[in-house]
C-alpha cells in the first residue's frame, strides 16, 4: 500500500493545502474586521431602515388615531409575513398552520392578564416563550414531513389547538370568549391606546424585518437556503438540518406569537375563532408569495401592498370588494408568478420588462 500521502502533505505548499488548513481567526479579529468593513455603501439598508422608522414616527404626528389603528394592522401583517417567510420562504417548509402561534400568543397573554392579573410585560414574553416551546414540540415530529404533508399537518395542528382552547372553558372561556381587563384599576397594565399600539406594532414590524435581514445574511440564513434547496446536499456539507428547521420554525413562531400577544391586548375581547382564523395564515402566504418569497423586501412589499389594497377596496367598493380582491390575486399570480419584487429585480437586471415571459415560463 502506498504511503505517499502523509509525506506529500508536509511538503505541499500549494493553494489547496492552504484552503484546507482553514482560516484560524479569533473572535476579536472577526469583529474588528467587520467593523472596519463597514462603509456608508454597505450600511445603507440599516440606515434606510432607521430612516423609515423615523419617518413613520414622524408620520404618526400627522395622522388621526383611527388611521394609526389601520397602519397598526399593516405593521402587524409585515411582521406576520416576515415570520412566515422565515419558515416558508427561506427554509422552504410551507406552514399552513402558522396562525396557531398567533392564537396561542393571544391566549397566553389574555389568560395570564385576565385570570392571574399579570402585567402585559410579563405576559408578552411568556407568549413568545410559549410560541417557541410549541414550535419545538410540534416542529420536531412535523418537520420530518415534506411538502404538502407538512402543510396539512400544520393546518391540523392549528385546527386542533383551536379546539383545545375552545374546550378548556374553565381556563380560556372556551367559545364564550375572553376579555383582558383594561378599564380602571382592574387593568394589570394600562391600555396603550391607538398611538401606543401604533408604536408597538411598528417596533414589532421593524424587529421582524431586522431579524429577517440578519438571518438572511448569516451563516444560519445560508443553512436555511441550503435546507430549502436540497436537504441531502445540505446535510452532506455538515448542516444539521433538523436543528436548522426547528430553529427557523421557532423564530417564526416567536414572532407570530408576539404579534398575537399585541393583537390580543389591542382587541381586549376575542374568541378562539378570531385568533385562530385560518385566513390569517392564508394572508401570510399570499403576502409572501405575491411580494416574492425568500427575500426581505418581498414579504414587506406584499404585506404593505395587500393590506392597504384590501382596506382601500373595502372602503371604496362595498359589496364588490372581496370579488375584486380575488380577481386581483388571480391577475397578479398569472402575471407575476415569481412575486412582484423578484420580477422587477430580475427585469431590472436583465433590462427586460416582459410579462409575457412570465406567462411563458410557467404555462403548459
Amino acid at each position: 500500500m502506498s504511503s505517499r500521502g502523509p509525506q506529500s502533505v508536509s511538503s505541499s505548499t500549494d493553494a489547496l493545502a492552504a484552503i484546507l488548513q482553514g482560516r484560524q481567526r479569533t473572535g476579536r479579529e472577526v469583529v474588528v474586521d467587520w467593523v472596519r468593513s463597514r462603509t456608508l455603501a454597505n450600511s445603507w439598508p440599516a440606515l434606510a431602515g432607521v430612516a423609515v422608522i423615523a419617518l413613520l414616527l414622524g408620520l404618526q404626528q400627522l395622522i388621526e388615531p383611527g388611521t394609526m389603528r389601520l397602519l397598526s394592522a399593516v405593521f402587524m401583517f409585515v411582521a406576520l409575513a416576515q415570520a412566515w417567510n422565515i419558515i416558508g420562504g427561506y427554509t422552504g417548509y410551507a406552514s399552513f398552520g402558522q396562525v396557531v402561534f398567533f392564537g396561542l400568543g393571544a391566549y397566553v397573554t389574555a389568560v395570564l392578564m385576565n385570570n392571574y392579573h399579570v402585567s402585559f410585560w410579563v405576559a408578552m414574553p411568556a407568549a413568545i416563550l410559549g410560541g417557541v416551546l410549541f414550535a419545538v414540540l410540534i416542529g420536531v415530529p412535523l418537520l420530518r414531513l415534506r411538502g404538502h404533508y407538512f402543510a396539512i399537518a400544520t393546518l391540523g395542528a392549528a385546527e386542533g389547538a383551536r379546539e383545545v382552547i375552545n374546550n378548556m372553558t374553565p381556563v380560556t372561556g372556551g367559545g364564550l370568549g375572553i376579555t383582558i381587563p383594561t378599564f380602571g384599576d382592574q387593568a394589570p397594565t394600562a391600555y396603550f391606546g391607538k398611538p401606543g399600539f401604533y408604536v408597538a406594532f411598528l417596533v414589532l414590524a421593524a424587529a421582524s424585518v431586522a431579524i429577517s435581514t440578519l438571518l438572511a445574511r448569516s451563516r444560519f440564513g445560508y443553512a436555511m437556503v441550503a435546507v430549502h434547496e436540497d436537504e441531502a446536499a445540505a446535510s452532506a456539507v455538515g448542516i444539521n438540518t433538523t436543528v436548522v428547521k426547528v430553529v427557523a420554525f421557532g423564530v417564526s413562531g416567536a414572532i407570530v406569537a408576539c404579534a398575537g400577544a399585541f393583537y390580543a391586548f389591542q382587541q381586549i375581547e376575542f374568541y378562539p375563532t378570531d385568533v385562530f382564523d385560518p385566513s390569517f395564515t392564508v394572508l401570510m402566504v399570499i403576502m409572501v408569495v405575491i411580494g416574492g418569497s425568500g427575500s426581505v423586501v418581498g414579504p414587506l412589499v406584499g404585506a404593505v401592498g395587500l393590506e392597504l389594497l384590501s382596506q382601500f377596496l373595502r372602503v371604496n367598493l362595498g359589496t364588490y370588494n372581496q370579488l375584486i380582491f380575488g380577481a386581483i390575486i388571480v391577475v397578479v399570480v398569472v402575471f407575476f408568478p415569481q412575486g412582484v419584487v423578484n420580477f422587477f429585480r430580475d427585469a431590472w437586471m436583465a433590462r427586460r420588462f416582459s410579462l409575457l415571459d412570465n406567462i411563458r415560463r410557467y404555462r403548459l
Binding site: G49, A51, L59, G193, Y271, V296, V315
Partner: protein, 417 residues
C-alpha cells in the same frame, strides 16, 4: 441570493398615501345642522348578503323615514340625519377599526355592527373614544358585564331567548314534560341555554339527557353542519321537544339530521334565532313547518310611535321598500330600525347631538315604540322588553306567544303522532 432591502424609503410614502386613501370614507358628512349616524356593517363575508344586509336595511329605512319626517327636531330646528357605513367583511376586528376611524371624523353616534362577537369587539372602542353606541343585534349578556357606560342595547339580552321558548311551550296544550337542549359553543347560545334550563326546571319540565348536557354531550361547535353526535346523545331519551340554542347552520342541520337519525321529538322543535328568518325556511323547505322560534319583535305589538307608526305599519312600509314578503321578513331589520330610532329619540330628548348628552338621555330613555318598550337598565340592557315566539305555518311567521298578541293558534303538537 437574498434580496437587498431596496426602496425602503418608498414604503414610507406608500404608507402615507395608502393611509390617506383608506381613510377616505365612501360617504360624506352633511354640513350645518346635520347629524351623522355611523355604523360598521357586514356587506361581504359570512353575514354579507344575509344578517348584515338586513341590519343595514333596517338602519337605512330608519334614516330615510327620519329624514322624510323632517329629521330630528330640537332647539327649534330640524336636523337631517346622514348614515355613514363601511363594510367590515364580517370580521370583528375590522368593525372595531372602523369605529376608531369614525372617531377621527368625529362621528360619535354609532349604530352597532351585526352580531354579538362584533358588538363585543366594538363596545370597548366606543367606551374609550367617548362615542355612544346603540346595539341592535348583539344580545350576548357578556357585553354588559364589563361596566361599559356607552353601549345600550334595544333588544332583549341572550338570557331571554330560551326562557321565552320554555314559557311558550309551557302555555301550549299539551305542554311538554321533557325537553332536550342542543347548544352551540358560543357565548350567546351557551348563556341562553343556561337560563333556559333553569326556566324549564322551574316550569316542571325535565331536561334530557341531563340538565348540563348543553355544556357537554349536546354541545356543538358554532356554524357546523353536522350535529349528529348531539342527536345521537338525545336519541333514546325521547324528549317531547328538542330546543336548539344556536344559529342558523346548527338549527337547520339539527332538524334535518334528526329526521335521518330517527330522533323524533313527540311534539316538535323549537330554536332561538333561526326560525324567524326567511333563510331558515329556504334552508329547510317543508321541514320548517311547525318549528317554534323566539323573536325580538312581532308585528302584532300594540305599541306605536310617531316615526314608524304601529308595528304593522312598520312591517308593511319596510317590506314594501325592500321587497320582502310580509309573511317572511327579517326581524333583524326591526332591531336595527329600533336602535336607530332610540338614538334619534335620545338626541331629541337631549336637545343636542353631543355624545355625553345623548348618553345621558339614552340612560334615562323610557318610551314605547313600534318595537315595544325601550328602557335601559344600569348596564345598558333593555330588560323591560320581553321576547315573543312565532311558529312557522305554511312558510309564514305566525305569532303564537304571548297569547294576547296571537291571532292564530299554534299548530300543536307540530309533529303528527
Amino acid at each position: 441570493m437574498i434580496g437587498r432591502p431596496g426602496a425602503l424609503f418608498a414604503f414610507g410614502i406608500v404608507l402615507a398615501l395608502g393611509a390617506a386613501a383608506c381613510g377616505t370614507s365612501s360617504n360624506t358628512s352633511t354640513s350645518g345642522s346635520g347629524i351623522t349616524f355611523a355604523a360598521p356593517v357586514s356587506q361581504t363575508g359570512a353575514f354579507g348578503q344575509a344578517e348584515g344586509l338586513y341590519t343595514l336595511q333596517g338602519y337605512k329605512f330608519c334614516v330615510q323615514t327620519l329624514n322624510a319626517k323632517g329629521g330630528i327636531q330640537y332647539g327649534g330646528q330640524s336636523h337631517q340625519v346622514t348614515l355613514v357605513t363601511q363594510d367590515d367583511q364580517s370580521v370583528s376586528a375590522t368593525s372595531a377599526q372602523i369605529v376608531d376611524q369614525y372617531n377621527d371624523k368625529s362621528y360619535k353616534l354609532i349604530l352597532s355592527p351585526y352580531g354579538s362577537p362584533a358588538t363585543t369587539a366594538v363596545a370597548p372602542v366606543v367606551e374609550r373614544n367617548g362615542q355612544v353606541m346603540v346595539d341592535s343585534n348583539g344580545a350576548d349578556t357578556a357585553i354588559f358585564t364589563h361596566g361599559y357606560k356607552n353601549t345600550f342595547a334595544v333588544l332583549a339580552p341572550s338570557s331571554t331567548y330560551v326562557t321565552t321558548i320554555i314559557d311558550t311551550l309551557a302555555a301550549l296544550n299539551p305542554a311538554p314534560k321533557t325537553v332536550a337542549i342542543i347548544a352551540a359553543n358560543d357565548g350567546f347560545s351557551q348563556h341562553a341555554a343556561e337560563k333556559g334550563v333553569s326556566e324549564a326546571q322551574a316550569k316542571g319540565m325535565t331536561v334530557v339527557p341531563s340538565a348540563t348536557a348543553y355544556t357537554s354531550s349536546t354541545k356543538v361547535n358554532a356554524n357546523v353542519t353536522d350535529v349528529s353526535s348531539a342527536l345521537i346523545a338525545i336519541k333514546g331519551t325521547n324528549p317531547d321537544v328538542i330546543i336548539i340554542s344556536a344559529h342558523l347552520n346548527e338549527a337547520v342541520a339539527a332538524i334535518k339530521q334528526a329526521s335521518e337519525l330517527g330522533v323524533k321529538p313527540k311534539y316538535g322543535f323549537a330554536a332561538t334565532v333561526a326560525p324567524p328568518t326567511p333563510a331558515f325556511i329556504s334552508a329547510l323547505g317543508t321541514k320548517s313547518e311547525g318549528v317554534i322560534g323566539s323573536t325580538q319583535w312581532v308585528p302584532e305589538l300594540s305599541t306605536s310611535d310617531s316615526l314608524f307608526g304601529t308595528a304593522k305599519q312598520f312591517l308593511s312600509n319596510f317590506t314594501n321598500t325592500y321587497g320582502w314578503s310580509p309573511n317572511q321578513y327579517p326581524y333583524q331589520a326591526a332591531d336595527a330600525a329600533a336602535a336607530c330610532e332610540a338614538l334619534a329619540l335620545a338626541i331629541q330628548k337631549a336637545g343636542s347631538a353631543d355624545p355625553a348628552a345623548v348618553r345621558t338621555a339614552l340612560a334615562g330613555l323610557s318610551v314605547d315604540t313600534f318595537y315595544g318598550h325601550i328602557q335601559f337598565d344600569s348596564t345598558g340592557m333593555n330588560t323591560t322588553k320581553p321576547m315573543y315566539a312565532i311558529q312557522i305555518q305554511k312558510s309564514a311567521f305566525v305569532t303564537i306567544y304571548p297569547s294576547n298578541l296571537s291571532s292564530t293558534p299554534a299548530n300543536w303538537p307540530a309533529i303528527a303522532a
